[in-house]
Symmetry: C3
Subunit: 442 residues, 3 copies
Amino acid sequence: MPPQYAPSLRSRLAPLLLFLQTGFIIIFAFYTEIERNGNADDFSKRYPEFQDVNVIVILGFGFLGTFLVRHGFSGSGFNLLVAAMATQWALILNGVESLYYRGRLRIDLKSLIVAEMCTASALISIGAVLGKTNPVHLILIGLLEVSGFILNKWLLQFLLNTRPLISIMMLHIFGSLFGLMLTGTLYRKGSEQRFEKEKFDTKMGLFSMLGTVVLWMFWPSFNSVLVDDRTPGRKLEAVCSTYLALAVSAVTAAAMSVLSNPKGKLHLIHLQSCILAGGVAVGVSMSAVRHPWEAMIIGFAAAIISSIGFQYLKIHMLLAFQCHDTCAILSSHALPGLLGWIAHLVLQIKDSDDHTVAIRFAVFHICSLLITIALSVTLGILTGTVCLNLYSSSRYSQCAVFFISFISLFEGLLIRLKFWRPPQYKNCFDDQAFWEVCSHLL
Amino acid sequence: MPPQYAPSLRSRLAPLLLFLQTGFIIIFAFYTEIERNGNADDFSKRYPEFQDVNVIVILGFGFLGTFLVRHGFSGSGFNLLVAAMATQWALILNGVESLYYRGRLRIDLKSLIVAEMCTASALISIGAVLGKTNPVHLILIGLLEVSGFILNKWLLQFLLNTRPLISIMMLHIFGSLFGLMLTGTLYRKGSEQRFEKEKFDTKMGLFSMLGTVVLWMFWPSFNSVLVDDRTPGRKLEAVCSTYLALAVSAVTAAAMSVLSNPKGKLHLIHLQSCILAGGVAVGVSMSAVRHPWEAMIIGFAAAIISSIGFQYLKIHMLLAFQCHDTCAILSSHALPGLLGWIAHLVLQIKDSDDHTVAIRFAVFHICSLLITIALSVTLGILTGTVCLNLYSSSRYSQCAVFFISFISLFEGLLIRLKFWRPPQYKNCFDDQAFWEVCSHLL
Amino acid sequence: MPPQYAPSLRSRLAPLLLFLQTGFIIIFAFYTEIERNGNADDFSKRYPEFQDVNVIVILGFGFLGTFLVRHGFSGSGFNLLVAAMATQWALILNGVESLYYRGRLRIDLKSLIVAEMCTASALISIGAVLGKTNPVHLILIGLLEVSGFILNKWLLQFLLNTRPLISIMMLHIFGSLFGLMLTGTLYRKGSEQRFEKEKFDTKMGLFSMLGTVVLWMFWPSFNSVLVDDRTPGRKLEAVCSTYLALAVSAVTAAAMSVLSNPKGKLHLIHLQSCILAGGVAVGVSMSAVRHPWEAMIIGFAAAIISSIGFQYLKIHMLLAFQCHDTCAILSSHALPGLLGWIAHLVLQIKDSDDHTVAIRFAVFHICSLLITIALSVTLGILTGTVCLNLYSSSRYSQCAVFFISFISLFEGLLIRLKFWRPPQYKNCFDDQAFWEVCSHLL
C-alpha cells in the first residue's frame, strides 16, 4: 500500500525535467560543435579513460547509494537522472569561456571527462540528503552545486592561477562541504531520532558493495585522467600511487572497522565509506606525490581519519549540529579531502629548495582552500535556506532575492510555482514515495 | 517443490547443445584461421572496443533480462548460452564470403565484434519470448535469427550497396520485428490474462538496473565501434552524439514515466526500457548525424515515442493482436529504431545539395527498410509457425517444408525427434521449470 | 541475535592488519621506486589490460564467492582484503631480484599486473576454505600462498628456464592444489555432514552470476596480458582462442549440467564453476595453441572434465578424503589446469619436427609440473598443519619449527600470541560471525 500523502511527482518533476531538457537542447543547438580536428590516436588513448570515469560516475556512485533496505531504486535511479542533467549543464558552463573567445562551445572527450568530474562533485553533495528530499530538489541541488563548483574552479584558476588538475580535484572538498551545509540547513525536527527505514540488509549491502568495488577498481583512472601525459611517467606515477593508497586504505579501514565496533565485528557500510579515503586523499594531493610510500602513508592516515569520522563524528554532527548525513560524505570525502590538501602542502614545501617559492606556494594553496570552503559553505547554506523556505512556504521574497542573484532565470519561475514539497518524515528512505515497487508489469 | 510436468531438459537440451557445438568445432577446425598479419597498434586500439561490445552483449543484455521475480537465472543464464552459440554461428556465416574467395574464414577482432553485434540482434528477439519458451527453443530461435539477420545484411549490401555500418545497425529493427512476429505467432490462449509471476520486486529491479546502467554506459562504444576511424573526428562525433542522446533520453524517459503513471510515480521497468531509446535511434541514424543537437533531438523524440509505446502500445498489442512482449522490445528497439531510420532519411536529404542524389538516397534508404521489414516479419512468422506446429505436434509436413527450405540440415532432424515442448502456462516466468533453485549444494 | 562464542576479531584481525600494513609501508618507503622512463604509448596500451586484470581479481573473484545464502559479505569483503594485502606482498617478493641487482624495486604497470596474477592464485586457494576459517587465517593463508607461488615461479625460471608466461599460468594448478591440501588438512569432524548454511538462493545466485560473467568476459585479457606483443598476431591469437574456448565451455557446461542433474535441470552453481574451465585450460596451454579449433577442443574437454569433477569428485573428495571444497576449486581450476598442461605437452610435441627437441621439452614440461605439484602440496599441508595445531593449541614447537624455517619473522610472533581460533561449526558459512548484518546505521 502506498504511503498516504505521498507527494505526487507528476505536476512537478515532469515539467521541470522537460523544461530544463528543452532548454539544454536549445543551448546545444545554437552554441556547441564537436571538435573534429583531433587525431585518431588521441581518441583511442582517451576513450578508455572516458569510459572509466563514466563507469565511476554512473555505476560506482549509483550503486554505492543503494545500501538502504528500501531505497535502492532511488539510490541508483536518481543518481543516473542527476548525472544526466548535471553533465549537460557542466558541459555548457565549462564551455562559456571558449564560447566567449571563439563563438562556439567545443565538445570533445576531454570536455566530457571534465564535465563528468564536475557531476561527481554534485553526486557527492546529494549523498548527504539522499532519502530525505524529493527528486525535484535533487535535480535542482545537482544543477546548483555544479554551477557553484564551476564558479569555484574559475575563481581558483583566474585569481590564483591554479592548474585544472588541482582545482578540479577540489571536488571532494567542495562537494562534501556543500552537501553537509545543505543537510544541516535542511534539518527538520526529529531527524536526530533514528529513521525507521535507515538500515541495510544482506542483499542491499552487496549491491552497494558492487558500487564500492567499482569505485575502488577505477579510482586510479579518476585520479590520473587529468594528469598531463607529456611528462613521461607522470600518469604511471598517478596510477601506481592511487592503487597503492587504495590498497592500504582497504586494509586499514578493515582494521579500524573491527577496532571501533562494539562487538569487534566488521561493519560493511563503515568499510564501504572508508575504503576509498586513500584514493580521495591522494587525488587531492596528486601533483605533489612523487613516491609510492608517500601515497601509502596518505592512504593509511586517510583511512584512519575517515574511520574515526564515520564512527564518532557522524553521530556527533547529528546530535550537536542536527546535521544528518545519509551517505557519510563527511568521513568519505570531506576529511580525506582535507587530509589530501594538507599532504599536498607538506610534500610541496618539503620538496622545494627555495624558501620564497615555498612560502608563495603555501599562501596560494591556503587561499585556494579558503575560497573553496567559503564558496561551498555559503552556497550550501543558501541552497538549503531556499529549500527550507520553500518547504514552509514563507519568507519568499528574502530567498528569492538570494537566489535570483545567484542563478536566476528558471529558479524564480520555479519558486512561484510551488514545485517544492518534502516527503513526510515517515516516508524518508522509502522508495514507495516515488517509485512503483514490486508491482505486476501490466 | 518443483512444478509438475516440468519439461525435462535432459533428453533435449543436452544433445542439441553437444551436437551443435561439435558441429561448430568441426567447421572451425577445417575452415578458419586467425588473421596473423595485423599490427600490434591496431590490436591495442581495437581490443578495448571489443571488450565494451562484449560487456554490452553478455553483462548488459544478460542482466537487463533479470527483472522478473522468479526468472533471474533464466534471464542471465540463457542469455549467456544463446550468446555463446550465436556468436560462433555468426562468425561462421559472416565468413562464408571470405571462405569462398580465399578458401579460409579469417578471424580477427573486427570479425568477433561484428559477430557479437549479430548476436545482439538475436538477444533482442529473444527478449520478446523470454519466460514463455524453453531453452531448446531459445537456442534454435537464436541461431535462426542470426542466420536471418546475416542474410538481410547480405541482401542490403549486394542489392543496395549499403555500407556495413548501416546494414548492421538495422539490428534493432530486424531483431525486434522478428521477435514481435515470433511472439505473436506463438500466442497461446490465456496470455492476454495476467501471468502470475510476471512481476518485479526491489532486488530484481536492481539487478536489471545493473544491466541497464551497463548498457547505458557502454552504448557509445556500441554505436561507434563500426565507424571508420580514417576520417578524423567521425568516431568522436559518434561517441559524443550517442552520449548526449542517451543523457537526453534518460531525462525524458523519467519525465514521461512520471507523466504516464496513474499515481504520478516513477516506474523502474518503464525507465529501463525507455532510457536507451536515444542510443538506439542515434545508432540507426549514425551516418547522418553531424551535430550534437541533432542527436539530442533524436534522443528526446525517441524517449517520448518509446514511453508511449511502453505505456499504451504494449497492452494494446497484447489485447488486440495477442502479442505478448516480455521485455517490451517494441518500445525499446522497434520504435526508436524506426525513428532513427526516419531521422537518417530527413537529415541526409536536408544535408544534400543535389536533388538527384537526395532522391536516389531516399529510394535506396526506403528499399533497405522494406527489405529488412519483409525479411524479419517473414522469418519471424515462419519461425513462430514452426514452433507452434511443433507444440501441437500437427501439420508437420507443412512446417517441415517451410523450414527445410530455410536452413534445413539439422532442423529436419530436430523436428522428427520431437525435441520441442512448451512450458505449462502456470510455469511461465518461473526459473523452477529449468533450474535448481535455492537448494543445498551437495 | 549474534551467535554465541563468535570469535572476536578485535584483538586479532586489527593488530595483524595494522602490523603487516605498517611493515609493507616501511619496505615500500625504503626499497621501491616508480619506473619513470616508460613512454606514454606503452602506458596507454597497458593500462586497459591492467584494469581488466584488476576487474577480474576484485570484482570477478569477489562476487564469484558470494553464492552462499548467508555468506555474501565475507565472500566479497574478505576477497578484497586478501587481494589488497597479497598484491602488496607480491609486488615486494617479485621485486627482490631487481632489488638485489639494482638496489631498487621498480614498480610499473607490468609489475602490478604480475602481482595481481600472483594474488589470483591466492584467491583460488582461499576458495577452498571460504566460510570455514576466520579472516585472520585468510590473510595469513593468502600471504603464505603468494610467497609459495612466487617461490615456485623462481624455481621454474631458474631451474628449468621456464618463460614467465608459462610459470605464471601455473597459478591455477598451484593455487588449487594448495587450497585442496589446506582444506584437507584443516578437516574437522562433522564436515562430511551437510553444513546448515551451505546453500544458495535466487538472489545470491545472481550476485555470483555477476562475478562469473565478469570473469567470463575479461578472461581473454587475463590469458593474453603476458603474451609478448612483439610477434605480430600472438596477442590476437591468445584473445581469440580464449574467447572461443570460453564460448565452447559455456555451451558444454550447460549440456553437462543438464545431463548430470537427477531432475534434468540446470544447476547454476555447477554452471558457474564449469563455465570458465575452457579459459583456464587454454591459459595454461597458451604458448602452444596456434589454431582456434585446438582451443575449442580444449574448452570442450575442459568443460566435460570440470563438470564430472563438480558432480562426482567433489562429494567423493569429501567422503573419502574429508576434503571439503567450498568453491569447488578442484573442478574449476585443478582439473582444467592439469588438462591444459597435458594439452600443452601434446600440442608442442605434435608441432615439433625434431625428436630431440620434443623429448627435451617433454622432460622440462613434466619437471615443471612435478615441481609445482610438490611445492603446492607440501606448502598446502604445512600451512594446514600450522593452522590445525594452532586450533588445538598443541604441538607448538613442532609447527613453529616448520613455520619459522619457511617465513619466520612475523609468524613466530603470531603463533605465540594465540591469534588463531576457528569459527564454531554451526557458524560456518555465516556472515554474522564476523560482520554486522542488517543493522540500523547509527
